[in-house]
């Protein structure tokens, strides 16, 4: 069992790291009271997924997927990297909208903390 776990970790440490990073992002989203930090948690969560995609594309000893590839050499799969580029753009748009909402919340309630926000809203 231990050997099996060690072997998995030694060969697939990238995936393990990605999922730890994802867990950290999720934890920040849930446990942090500060709205901006929550949004950073969302970003961390998404970044972990992007890195996961890049890890899928990795080929042992492969070179960068630039055309024309030098004869017969194996290259990393370009498709997941293209996917990640698109997903990064989507992520930036989401962050922008989220920050705009946070600016509005701060202007209206004068706080960025979720617990304070709950109290202010309960008073109204």
């Amino acid at each position: 069992m231990i050997e099996w776990t060690l072997e998995i970790l030694a060969t697939r440490y990238a995936y393990a790291l990605m999922f730890i990073l994802m867990g950290l992002g999720m934890y920040m989203m849930i446990a942090n009271q500060n709205l901006v930090k929550k949004l950073i948690g969302v970003n961390l969560f998404q970044t972990a997924i992007f890195l996961f995609f890049v890890a899928i594309a990795y080929v042992e000893g492969g070179s960068a997927p630039i055309v024309p590839a030098e004869g017969g050499e194996s290259v990393a799969s370009p498709l997941p990297q293209v996917i990640v580029l698109t997903a990064i753009v989507v992520g930036i748009a989401l962050t922008a909208v989220g920050l705009a909402l946070i600016v509005r919340i701060h202007a209206e309630y004068g706080t960025l903390r979720e617990d304070t926000l709950r109290e202010v809203r309960a008073d109204e």
């Binding site: 999720m26 989203m29 709205l35 929550k38 949004l39 969302v42 969560f45 998404q46 997924i49 996961f52 995609f53 899928i56 498709l79 997941p80 996917i83 698109t86 997903a87 989507v90 748009a93 989401l94 909208v97 989220g98 909402l101 946070i102 509005r104 919340i105 209206e108 309630y109 926000l117 809203r121």
Partner: protein, 518 residues
Amino acid sequence: MSNAELLPPLLIAMPILAAVVPIALGLWFDRTGWSVAALTTVGLFAATAYLASAVRTADDAQITHVLGGWNEPQGIGIELVADPFSTLIALLVTVIAASLLAYTRAGGPRGNAFYTGYLLLVGGLLGILMTGDVFNMFVFLEIVGLATYAMISSGDGPESAVAALKYLILGTVGASLYLIGVGFLFMATGALNMEVLGEAIPQIADEGGSDLTLLRAAFAFVFVGFALKVAQWPLHAWQPDAYQHAPDGITPLIAALVSTVYAYALGRVMFTVFGVEFMATTPYLQEIVVTVGAVSVLAGSTLAVVQQDVKRMFAYSSVSQFGLVIAAYGSLTETALVGAVIHLIGHGVMKAGLFVAAAVIALSYGARSVDEYAGLAENRPLAAGSTAVLLVALIGIPPSAGFVGKWYIAVGAIEAELWPIAGVIFLSTMLTLAYAARLLEKMYFTPATPVESAHPPGVATDGGLLTGSDRMERGSPDAVSLGMLVLLVGIVVAAVLLGFAGGAFYEWLEPFTSEVFN
């Protein structure tokens, strides 16, 4: 290439390009947004109707457009596909999007930026419907998400910003989980095209091995991601806030279309990509899907019964109605699948109508909570009558859209020998009756109280029509335009007429269901 093949990309490009126009024209003119949105959505409806007729006459009942003409054999190039299932929902989307403009014309929200968001939302929804590529679907999911967050936060009160941020964080998690699922699918098969995936997956399911484990993980991530987006219990927490605090003119759009299209996307991924065989052979998969749906039905309607705010009550009712659709997906029979599609359409029409009615009542009667609806039938008979008919349809009393969907789902569940679903449908009907009856009783049998409304009318719209001085005692009937009433009556008639269309839907969906179930 025939004309119809150009329609799927046009349906997506047209609203997204038109979304720029109101902002650009806004440099010179103040109020152009509505006209641009009306022109575009009516054009989209015409195009969708033409596409639907083309799908009907096409050889294999689908119309495919390969973007960029890139026919990659491994299924990596992006395809747009219109088939009976997607065109049916596309018709619902374009009809509701075009007709709701009759409300926003006078009821607000106004402004060019608002209509830009409106068109982006419609474009994203049509994108989800037309795409035949799992990653492309993620991109459109996020476009719809972004437009929805912006729409929700366009309400006047600061509460709407809080609700939108909550939705943004949870919605992003949902879409990201779906993206992980896509990653696992790509690892297992090396393809992203839905049709190619649909052929590759049964083979992998037969061979077994580590690729099968990847597929199962992919299904788990995709299902949880969509369960969050469709608002299934216990992942529904964002939805009541979002629906309640969105501007009145926008709630019908979001409630009727966004969740419906997410549910379509889940059905598409479940049946076209994973396929019935994979779902039937994976241990506990069917049980889990059915349980999530059934629990949502019960939890959603129970929570709806205890709500005071009418919009919030309808929001919880959505949780329960979509639970029914998910449970129907899980029963894996042809009849239940058709029932799920009919229920999606019927629920879309009925919920749009109920939220329009709630908006009209808030505007003209100043009533937002169940208690404030007292005496409505006497003072605003048309609005009260429409609400009553739609509520009766939602309960599922024939002839109505709500009845046919439930009937087909129940028959399908019994075919699959999933008796608990039939029981849950019965229970949910009782619970729907419980919250509908509260409202009916207030409207028809409780005399109006002279109490001044706690919420001044027009607070959630920026119409500027209802300032404190010219407001009558309880809202102003003058604020309701002819367009709103025509829209409301039209939806009520549609909700009743759809009750007779069960057979037509069955026939229309036949090419899709026969392909899914061979």
